[in-house]
């Protein structure tokens, strides 16, 4: 029952994408929209093959992903550390959690010009922006995770003689892990988007730079090839994170 339901859902989803591609193919054949603005499907496919086989692509992917990796990595370390410190006292949590939550609602892209002034148009300004975007959801979820650990489990650990380090390693981290992991997944999109936005606005390399350059040169088919490459990377990363998340969740509940 459940299995056939899932199959049906998957079929409908696949059907939706097939319909989109079919509509695009028909549009391309009939030349309904100016192909300079909206490229034909076969040209995008050709360009996609070109992009994927071009040795320069590896460099662009490396630039974007290493920038993203640095931003995400720093945000994870900073977010979990700050989250842990804030969660250690009820007063800290009451004071700082709303402050962090307020920052989370600010569209952080508005700080990008400042970062360009500070760090220039190289990768550093994108790392700063991506890091800032990922920091808040990670810190907030870390606080939520640590404070949600059952008080009875903490009391039990204390009564057995757990040290502060043992409490962190054996009780707080495993207890908070599923919620922290959700924070990491939530933080992925704003982080990756900020790095790409930074590259689109001002940069000299990376996938965002290619998208922006090709758009300016009216190479829309090639631009779309890069767009699809970005979509594939984001989808794969997200799939990996949610698989990890559900697998963790299943063993615990």
């Amino acid at each position: 029952m459940a299995k056939s339901d899932r199959l049906r859902t998957r079929l409908v989803q696949a059907g939706f994408f097939v319909t989109l591609l079919a509509a695009w193919s028909i549009e391309s054949a009939l030349r309904l929209i100016n192909p300079i603005l909206f490229p034909r499907i076969e040209n995008v496919a050709t360009q996609f093959v070109n992009v994927m086989t071009s040795p320069a692509t590896l460099g662009d992917v490396w630039t974007t992903m290493s920038t993203f990796g640095a931003a995400y990595g720093i945000a994870i370390i900073a977010g979990i550390s700050v989250g842990y410190v804030v969660s250690t006292s009820r007063l800290f949590t009451k004071t700082y959690e709303p402050v962090l939550a307020a920052f989370y609602t600010v569209p952080l892209l508005i700080f990008f010009p400042t970062f360009i002034l500070f760090f220039g148009t190289g990768v550093k300004s994108k790392i700063a922006l991506g890091c800032l975007a990922a920091f808040f959801p990670i810190a907030l979820n870390t606080i939520a995770g640590f404070t949600s650990v059952d008080r009875n489990l903490r009391t039990a650990a204390i009564s057995f003689g757990a040290s502060r380090i043992q409490m962190l390693r054996r009780v707080l981290l495993p207890g908070a892990f599923p919620i922290i992991l959700t924070g990491l997944r939530i933080a992925f999109i704003p982080c990756f988007a900020s790095v790409l936005a930074g590259e689109i606005i001002a940069s000299d390399s990376g996938l965002g730079h290619e998208i922006s350059q090709n758009a300016q040169m009216m190479e829309t088919a090639r631009m779309f090839a890069y767009v699809f490459l970005v979509i594939i990377i984001a989808a794969l990363f997200n799939l990996g994170l949610s698989t990890w998340e559900t697998r963790r969740g299943r063993t615990l509940v």
């Binding site: 059952d150 009875n152 489990l153 009391t155 039990a156 650990a157 204390i158 009564s159 057995f160 003689g161 757990a162 040290s163 043992q166 054996r170 009780v171 495993p174 207890g175 892990f177 063993t251 615990l252 509940v253």
Partner: protein, 276 residues
């Protein structure tokens, strides 16, 4: 009693008072409680909910420092927790959900500071004692309520402390599971010779398991009476249907009736805390 060679009085509480802050005012939960527990004795703290019996247990265990009064263990003042001397079995088991049954025991032994080489043996022996060995690789979520509580008991036993404090270990169990668990507990604890303090709100459990029962008043809790249960351990199911059992249970009911009524009525005015 088994503990005759040890210090006669294992736990001595004198004049313990405690209150919790509730908004701007203080809510007194314990008022000048004094009691002593002999070595190897099994006692119950019995009282209406909110009478401070769990608070008293936490004070005895060093998890909570009372506002006033003192606790002596074997004649020495208690300062904070003493994981080598006292272990707990908690209400709702408090097993770590991310650890298997076996790992739960191993982690507690690690916290207590038992050398790594000894932990596996002690965990295995304790799981055997509660007949949970075949479930050692299970996660708590895969076990029934009674099984979880048996694992929690095994964890307490594996720590090999002289004193075992049990905070409503039956609270989450259905009545039939309670009966069987109670019988097992009586057999097991008679063998170990530990000093045991059990918090409960069940009259039958208190009678079935205890040598002495401390009946507490409604909040703020005081000791209202001490009731003896002169019957050797281990106790068997036919004790439950004996006239002696019925008489003691009746006496407890008399003592508690007014307190329970007072507690129920005051609960309508004061928000309930889960500190017992």
């Amino acid at each position: 009693m088994t503990g005759a060679t040890r210090a006669e009085v294992a736990i001595e509480v004198s004049g313990a008072s405690h209150s919790f802050s509730q908004g701007t005012r203080a809510l007194a939960v314990l008022s000048e409680v004094s009691l002593s527990v002999r070595s190897g004795e099994m006692v119950s703290l019995l009282g209406p909910s909110g009478c401070g019996k769990s608070t008293l247990l936490n004070i005895v265990g060093g998890v909570l420092t009372p506002d006033a009064g003192s606790v002596l263990l074997d004649g020495h003042p208690l300062h904070g927790i003493m994981p080598h001397k006292i272990s707990f079995v908690f209400q709702e088991h408090a097993l770590f959900p991310w650890n298997t049954v076996f790992e739960n025991l191993m982690v507690a032994l690690e916290f207590q500071g038992v050398p790594a080489a000894e932990r596996a043996d002690r965990a295995t022996v304790a799981l055997d004692a509660v007949r949970m060995s075949e479930f050692r690789a299970f996660y708590p979520a895969q076990l029934s309520g009674g099984m979880k509580q048996r694992v929690a008991l095994a964890r307490g036993l594996s720590l090999e402390t002289d004193i075992l404090l049990m905070d409503e270990p039956f609270a989450a169990l259905d009545e039939q599971t309670r009966m069987v668990f109670g019988e097992d507990l009586s057999v097991l604890l008679a063998k170990t010779g530990k000093t045991i303090v059990l918090v409960t709100h069940s009259l039958s459990e208190a009678v079935f398991l205890s040598d002495r029962i401390f009946v507490m008043t409604a909040r703020p809790g005081k000791i209202k009476a001490v009731v003896d249960v002169p019957k050797e351990h281990p106790r068997t199911p036919d004790f439950v249907s004996s006239a002696q059992f019925g008489a003691i249970r009746g006496e407890l009911y008399e003592l508690l009736h007014d307190e329970i009524r007072a507690s129920v009525e005051s609960a309508q005015h004061v928000p309930k805390r889960d500190d017992g």
